[in-house]
Symmetry: D3
Subunit: 292 residues, 6 copies
């Protein structure tokens, strides 16, 4: 169960209105790596996990915090929009070029659809979608996804920091950037602990029998481009991070197979183009007999 | 530039048709973590990077390989569908329960739309979409995304391995699982090398001044759920993975802020509900004067 | 069957071109509550209903009118775009800030994709989609959905009215706002009549046996937030609108249940993280025997 | 802020596994009118409203409850999936027709992607999306949207009730149906109170000046279909629900306008088809001079 | 304006219920090339065209017919669903394998969401979307799109014909296949006439000056695959269909260009990975001075 | 298999940065008819075809070239963005109206999400999706789709040509327009050859028995609009392009059928509105007996 408290985790009041920045801020609310994504992602990972205890507690605990971040950003966006003029006519006639740029760059649905409110969309107005989240049931894979999400989210918040000089907005971003910093550390620590405690290891999933792999390609770096430096990295020689092999390097593939022959048995009732066009009518007649 | 060779990297011929498995296999072709995703993801990372040399070579080299994986899986799916009956009527009348289950579970667009061919969709028929990929320009974040993608992809391929006993399909999956194994190792190695060479470090992005963070919350684990074990992990005490701090733990938030007051200045031309309903008509009249 | 007449229901000619407003007007053409939505929604409700007669006639009659509204708005948008310069280069060099704002705010696909034509998208360029419509087969629910759609649509049209001073555009909006006014009244009247004639009642669906509800929570207002005024409304005390009970109020939930225990029986072939990591390999071996 | 408690509002444990029903249950989790929709919808309405006090408290209070419903259904689905066999091969060989139907009807991503976990999708696997929610800032419109959402959701839950005989699942559905019943009553009561207190009235938005409507069509029922009974309803005669007029009836439109003439001034740089094909090259030459 | 008549263009009554076929039939209703697509596509082409007269009349005339096809298929689907059992429990217990396959293959939203009604989705439940349609303003391109749409639609209807033996369904399909046949002929005839009358020609758009093309690659077939037969077709030698050149053939590209150098001027405020990691902090400091 | 070469097919370096044009150029990268579409479309057609030899070679050969075009445009976009200021604050304070328009019209995700990189989206930020492509297995239908795609793509590139005066951008567009010219010719030639060699013919699919059509409507032009000129075209009289009939013309439909009666047998467990509301409870009771 979730309980709501009518307080915020941190200050979320801008110094003034800014419809263009309100649009940009939608990215960290409803974008691929926005707060809705991490809140829902950690929620689904917690609800689905077969592993109770500290890992699930961690998912629940950060997940609930992220729902509060959704709220802070939504409220910030609503305030950035609140005093802005509804009428572009009015704004345009003033002939102020800075204002003109702002008007041109706004999310017009903020006014038309939401009446100066935040929306569950990204900075280009694409609706948030359930396919942004990752919850595989394999916690090492999922904690890696979480670390990535916090990295991408912090990169975006840091970029936004330089796109405004509103002190209130920057204050909130400073807070969010700090929490993304913390959560990066937490997911990396949790992934490490999961490996140390033997729940999962590299390669993910660690219980798939390596003997069922086509083993001779599991440690070979194959270069399908003609870059000359591809073989110089630590991904092409030396021990592998999973501790189970040695990297080798090959220019191009080490295996090859012929294209499978294309059969001439396309079912004529699918009306595809096949090598024996003249046979189709006859076959068709026969097959139709069976059906009818 | 890309050049195509009419050979495959590995065998991709099933022992027999299986329309239900053909549908399932769409997941690793056109799903969130399917081969189209990794091929396009590595491509966009390479095209966008400001860092030429071995890292870009690596992106180009694996990216081109993944386009070949797209091809192998597509051709495999087309063959799994090839000998299957187009007519469910025909199939159903046979009264074979195994066949019945298979027919019920097929992707009907395989026949109706593609004429027994693969499609750029996942196993539920959702079209592949550009929002599946990640290419932020920050390579440490993106290599983490890549490691995650290879983990998720390998988990899915391993699951699929147990959903079929077709030896040809399993052979291809064994190959793909091995390559996902390899690519996991490679992205982890590349991320490590990127840090060692000083291009980027934790927390990502590493150049955002820590002094601009709200610092006192950057190392505190706050638990917004009532799980008793959340404070026991290595994410709540001890040094942080970024090497820059010590984890501390708090039950709940360490900061709080009042909800911002809701102003009464909603523009009446947006027709939202505001505290002074009786004032609206008057205000509206005045504002309309300005406009008209 | 539908028949088309090459006349419009009302004037739809703007005084002049306005590419920015053309973009905004897309919202009431191809947005969540645009004319395509209501036209298709009333159509599907009519095609699916099991209740012939006056209610179906009403759905068909308004539905067909709405397709005509789609046409009027599309033609209006095409005219707003018609005289606009195709070349932003040309526009930009003029250095007119109002023009600059307009150019920055245009829907660039209007020119690039449609050659100065309307598109089946909303004001942010999101394509119209079938998931915008509601047609459940339960007419009281659906007429409520229709009333809502006409309310949302009229709110949006009223907002747009203040974003232009083009007399031709305002004239069309005045017509559409009047029809939305009418249709609100009609769906509310139809919902009332449906209840009075005994086809359906509150709560929807009215035929689900109330004895099959967990009855003690069907009339209790539970407050999961800490707002002090939540219990003051008519939704927390007094008779309920469905005429079947009395509202009561509770701070928080009246029932609670323990989290279900997480079993340790996750199928190892799904490679999820489970409490017994060391048992997996063994189990896996056994299960694989069954399969192969 | 949101706080999570590791308890559920009600029992959510099935009697046994059922992968087909798990798929169906996704509809009320991640569908157009699922619990994610209402939770997010009430949240955004609360965050955006300019009207503090009891109405906002109501939105926050029910919104937080709905997040708990999301959790209950997700956990129910995970349990319905938990003991199901990962391998369709295994299932199919048993030749049990009931099992066959179940396997054929499952959501294959439940196993392949989520490892026997719930997903943020509907019963056909379409990801939940932000465009499902409504938050216009006009509370009478939005409470009508909320009433509709609770009606649609209750209809769906009632239908699901008859698609299972699992006592645990039915128990949870009985609870959810009761809460949907309650919430229907609450939104209807809140809409009524909003009107009584003068914040908003019919037609929505009530502050748009009726004198700016094309008034003579605001109370006329126009029938664009040839149904003979369309004029018999209370939507075609008598007083209108907004209390401001009398319905009248017209077979077909009462107004008509000629199609606007199609100008011949299509910009040649858009390469559309225009009436003067021979003039294009010449014009094009001239316009290109301006640009280059 | 559109007017509706409560008759159908052709018989649309099935012999009996078939929930699995109802799902399949959704493809030609709400799929990429379903009737909604062609109805909306011809509508938008008509509304946007700058060329009044017979071509626009043709678009309006076929467009309106297609809306009637949408209606016929929707009504057919609703009837296919009408007598089907709502309860899979009931169906499953009967143990009939044919029934089992049908139940497994149904669109579960037909029952849960639409109450045995048609939906605006394709056969996999993907909602119809505005991005399916094409309306570029260039009529030769668009008539080619229309011919393609009628071809794809007729292929799908022909495939569906063999997936049922319901005489009522086949009767309707026979009608639709005939109309698709007719419309193919019409769009091809219209495209030919458009060229003959000089409105547009090959290559499309025909007014773009060929002198502005990089001319030496406009008639060369370049083979980027290693297929040996690619040079044998009429697309590699002989006159070109546009009547303006001669095909030539090249194994691989005839032109090549070096990769552009990657600059080191990535803005540090974007936090991308750049070649000079050590310089970033310094630069960042300087740039921040400008901003703050 | 695909192999990558770190060279481009043509020059792709702009004269200077232009964030607004970078956004527009996304259309021919990730739009409905962008390069990703044609690359993937030709790929899937090749992988799915049952017809080996020159036609498949052609698909493979052009498909691989198009992947190289994806790369060229992505690299061009990245360069257009590279020197642009990250901070709109900085840009706005300069007060330059041209700059203001540019800033207002940018794709804000280019900076926030991609760090000045290209994305897999169209010019309005809609992600590319798998439903843009066509691969039916019927090559005459698909080559028509390909010809259309090259026409639409060339129209869009020609329009873009006039929206910039950057010589580097125009140079690349001149190359792409030439290749689109070539590919139009190739698909038209291939379609013609396919017919001449007897693989497929008009109407598509050519093997569906014409005797199974409702033959009397297969050659009749029916006008559902009231345009007076619709009967004047070559689509209403004279021989049909498929060489199998003569066009005739009818004002309106030549056939008509009554609406099917709406049965009263809606399953009460679906809770739809039916004509016998009073019977429902009773029926419901009876049916529930069967189930429980």
């Amino acid at each position: 169960m979730f309980f709501h408290k009518q307080e915020l985790q941190y200050n979320a009041t801008p110094a003034g209105p800014d419809v263009f920045f309100a649009r940009k801020m939608q990215e960290i609310l409803g974008g691929q790596y926005g707060e809705i994504t991490v809140a829902m992602q950690y929620g689904f990972q917690a609800w689905n996990t077969k592993l109770p205890g500290k890992y699930r507690d961690l998912l629940y605990g950060i997940g609930a915090e992220e729902f509060g971040h959704v709220e802070m950003i939504a409220i910030m966006i609503a305030q950035l929009l609140e005093k802005a003029p509804a009428s572009d006519v009015e704004a345009a006639v003033k002939g102020d070029p800075t204002m003109a740029a702002i008007i041109g760059g706004e999310d017009v649905q903020h006014a038309i659809v939401a009446g100066a409110g935040a929306r569950a969309v990204d900075s280009n107005g694409n609706p948030w979608q359930g396919s942004y989240i990752t919850a595989s049931g394999n916690l090492l894979a999922d904690f890696t996804a979480n670390a990535n999400a916090e990295m991408q989210g912090r990169v975006q918040a840091a970029r936004l920091y330089h796109m405004t000089d509103d002190k209130g907005v920057r204050d909130l971003l400073s807070f969010l950037i700090a929490r993304d910093h913390m959560h990066q550390n937490q997911w990396i620590a949790a992934a490490r602990e999961l490996r140390e405690e033997g729940y999962e290891d590299l390669p993910v999933p660690s219980n798939f029998p390596l003997s069922d792999e086509v083993g001779d390609v599991a440690y070979t770096s194959m270069n399908f481009s003609d870059g000359k430096q591809a073989g110089e990295g630590s991904w092409a020689k030396g021990p592998t991070p999973d501790g189970k092999g040695e990297f080798s390097y090959s220019e191009g593939p080490t295996t090859t197979a012929a294209m499978p022959p294309v059969g001439n048995h396309g079912d004529p009732r699918l009306y595809g183009t096949t090598p024996e066009p003249n046979l189709v009518d006859k076959t068709l007649g026969k097959i139709k007999d069976i059906v009818e």
